[in-house]
């Protein structure tokens, strides 16, 4: 029976995870941590899930909680860390996305220092991989990460946090499992953990394919990872993949459009001079990230249960998740 601490439980994925853990007979107790006051969606689960207001970005908050009697009584033996899956992670956290890296480092160090905590599950993103034209189309877990000093700040933060958790994969008492999830799509049609979609830029002449996954499937994968006997890194994605141009959520439209360097060199220079060239056009806007989920299937037993469809035409196009029958 697991006793689990879930960070950022107020996020859309945390919400799904709370429900999944509540119904999981193998989980005895859940401590959900979040920066906001107790969210109302936890009310039906109070028999099993306790909410703890906790700002992980502040070291003393975490220290105070970990040394409190409340934590001792909870006898937490597993941690599920969901740092980047809030709607707007950069806006919600005072220090921006990079502070989530320090938060992850701090949490991992604290978990390692406490032998009672046996398992650590970290939700990462497939955007830690490096998409290039020469790369594989279907990325496996052993693909190199996309180290780029001038790359997207969000992606760099993701990679840093991923590497911190990878450091505990071997030779550590903490059984660490890293789930690298594709673009997460919520029931409301919002996108999570996808920097290229969040920033919205589009580059003419490119329409990369992206793996997508339902937030409910991610919650299921996290539960499976919690119980898994074999720690490691696993890609998590649904069955469907979509071109970038089809993925528009209900609120966001396509962002600024830029010409590729090879086509409009002169125009790009003019754009740059006018300060109109977006800063976030990276290889993610050109090359796809489609992931191979075979390992998650074979080891964790993960099988996506929800279909994701794109409905409508043109600007009315929107995403839907559908229960698999």
């Amino acid at each position: 029976m697991r006793r689990v601490l879930v960070t950022h439980i107020e996020s859309p994925v945390g919400r799904r995870l709370a429900k999944a853990l509540y119904h999981d007979p193998e989980v005895a107790l859940v401590v959900g941590a979040g920066t906001e006051p107790e969210p109302s969606f936890l009310a039906p689960y109070r028999g099993k899930i306790a909410y703890q207001r906790l700002d992980l970005a502040k070291a003393r908050h975490l220290q105070s909680f970990l040394h409190s009697e409340r934590f001792a009584r909870a006898r937490v033996d597993s941690v599920i860390h969901l740092p980047f899956v809030s709607e707007q992670p950069g806006e919600r956290v005072p220090g921006g996305v990079p502070s989530l890296v320090s938060e992850t480092r701090r949490l991992v160090e604290e978990c390692v220092a406490r032998p009672a905590i046996e398992r650590f599950v970290y939700l990462s993103s497939v955007f830690v991989y490096s998409p290039e034209p020469g790369n594989v189309n279907i990325v496996s877990e052993n693909q190199l990460l996309g180290f780029d000093g001038e790359g997207d700040v969000d992606v760099r933060a993701w990679i840093d946090a991923d590497l911190i958790c990878q450091g505990e994969l071997h030779g550590s008492s903490l059984r660490t499992t890293i789930l690298r999830a594709a673009t997460i799509i919520t029931e409301a049609g919002e996108f999570l953990n996808s920097p290229p979609l969040a920033h919205g830029e589009v580059q003419v002449g490119y329409d990369p394919m992206l793996s997508v996954v339902s937030d409910r499937d991610v919650a299921r994968a996290l539960v499976l990872a919690l119980h898994a006997d074999r720690p490691g890194i696993y890609n998590v994605a649904g069955r469907e993949i979509f071109p970038r141009s089809q993925l528009r959520d209900s609120s966001r439209r396509l962002g600024p459009i830029t010409l590729p360097d090879s086509l409009g060199g002169a125009l790009s220079l003019v754009e740059q001079a006018l300060g109109r060239r977006p800063a976030h056009v990276t290889s993610f806007h050109r090359y796809g990230v489609v992931v191979n989920t075979r390992l998650a299937h074979d080891v964790l037993g993960f099988e996506p249960q929800y279909r994701i469809e794109v409905r409508g035409q043109g600007a009315r196009r929107r995403i839907d998740t559908v229960r698999c029958r």
Binding site: K19, P25, H227, E240
Partner: protein
């Protein structure tokens, strides 16, 4: 009061806390322990192993969402291109496409980004080229496996890759049964705007070993031009002379235990004879080569269009190296080079036979 006090500790935000005694009669933890002991006893009675740990049924995560129309229904307002494709393709062609795309099970894209809808439109266009521009004749379809994966190794030529397109069209229109042949294209093509999208949507894949592994693992037919870029940049004086082969296709054949089918393509080397490769200009423009042909750059981009030459595609008897050698042979460069040379010679023979037959026919 410090800022910590409002966040950590038994604050008001905690509500009905499961750590605290609820009614004063029985401590919550005691009740929880009793429940845990009961669950442990029940769990021990259940079978051990991963089946026990993983819930067989997913937890109910929300109310069901009404069923949506299938992917086919969303194209009610089919565009002009779709209507044109319907006009150009026969019922038999559509049946062949349906057979090919059946494994997609209604998904709008496959794992490499191929769209059945775009592929159908492209086939309608290339069918015209296949039948009326290049007047393709093909033979040896019996050597193509009906269901299994294989590597098709072909000679390459003709500036623009119409040879690959014609082999793919031939696999759909002339295959018995129809099969989708997936061409491995140069990595450089993957960085070209628009071209990369078109290639992906019609089922072509960027050349990397992992991609080939994925495709062969899925029992697909993979068309490889072992000459690489050297094949299409060779000058008119060298046409139908096969350049040296890259060895990767033999290694992948041995590793993935699939046969190599030699494919001879005659006609491609005549479609745009290259008189000179202007390398200095190519370097300046960042291109792998800059061809000078009788029509390019004289007539601008139109000069790149292929001449209406007759195409002949011949599939030869497969090489089954994988049945004679273990997979480890792929790591022996001498053996691999020898095998690649065998394939090269066979394709050269097939090409020579057909080129001579053509010349004899003309005279």
């Amino acid at each position: 009061m410090t800022s910590d006090e409002g966040i950590v500790g038994d604050g008001p935000a905690l509500g009905s806390d499961p750590f605290l005694q609820s009614d004063g009669t029985l401590p919550y933890l005691l009740r929880l322990r009793e429940a845990s002991l009961r669950m442990v006893t029940e769990a021990r009675a259940q079978p051990q192993g991963r089946e026990r740990e993983l819930p067989s049924e997913p937890p109910d995560l929300g109310p069901p969402i009404p069923e949506l129309p299938s992917f086919d229904d969303r194209d009610e307002s089919a565009g002009a291109l779709d209507r044109l494709a319907s006009w150009l393709l026969t019922r038999a062609d559509d049946d062949r496409l349906a057979q090919i795309f059946a494994p997609l099970d209604g998904r709008p894209y496959d794992d490499f980004g191929m769209s059945p809808r775009v592929a159908r439109r492209a086939l309608a266009f290339f069918k015209l080229i296949y039948k009326y521009w290049f007047r393709v004749e093909s033979s040896g379809h019996a050597f193509i496996p009906e269901k299994e994966g294989a590597i098709l190794a072909a000679n390459h030529g003709g500036l623009l890759p119409f040879d690959a397109t014609m082999v793919v069209a031939d696999g759909i229109l002339g295959g018995k049964p129809p099969r989708l042949i997936r061409t491995v294209v140069d990595r450089w093509a993957g960085s070209l705007p628009f071209v990369n999208v078109f290639y992906a949507r019609v089922g072509q894949v960027i050349g990397s070993r992992d991609n080939v592994r994925e495709m062969l693992g899925a029992k697909q037919l993979v068309l490889i031009f072992p000459e690489g870029m050297a094949g299409i940049r060779k000058r008119a004086a060298d046409r139908y002379v096969l350049q040296s082969f890259h060895l990767g296709f033999v290694e992948e054949s041995l590793r993935h235990r699939v046969p190599i089918i030699p494919v001879a393509i005659v006609g491609a080397d005549d479609q745009a004879p290259i008189l000179w490769d202007a390398q200095p200009l190519a370097k300046l423009l960042g291109l792998p080569f800059f061809p000078i042909t009788p029509t390019f750059p004289l007539f601008g981009p139109l000069g790149l269009l292929p001449y209406p030459v007759r195409y002949e595609i011949a599939y030869g008897e497969p090489f089954r190296f994988h049945e004679e050698f273990p997979a480890e042979t792929a790591d022996d460069p001498h053996a691999v080079r020898y095998m690649a040379e065998q394939v090269r010679r066979r394709i050269q023979e097939m090409v020579d036979q057909r080129v001579i037959a053509r010349r004899t026919k003309r005279t």
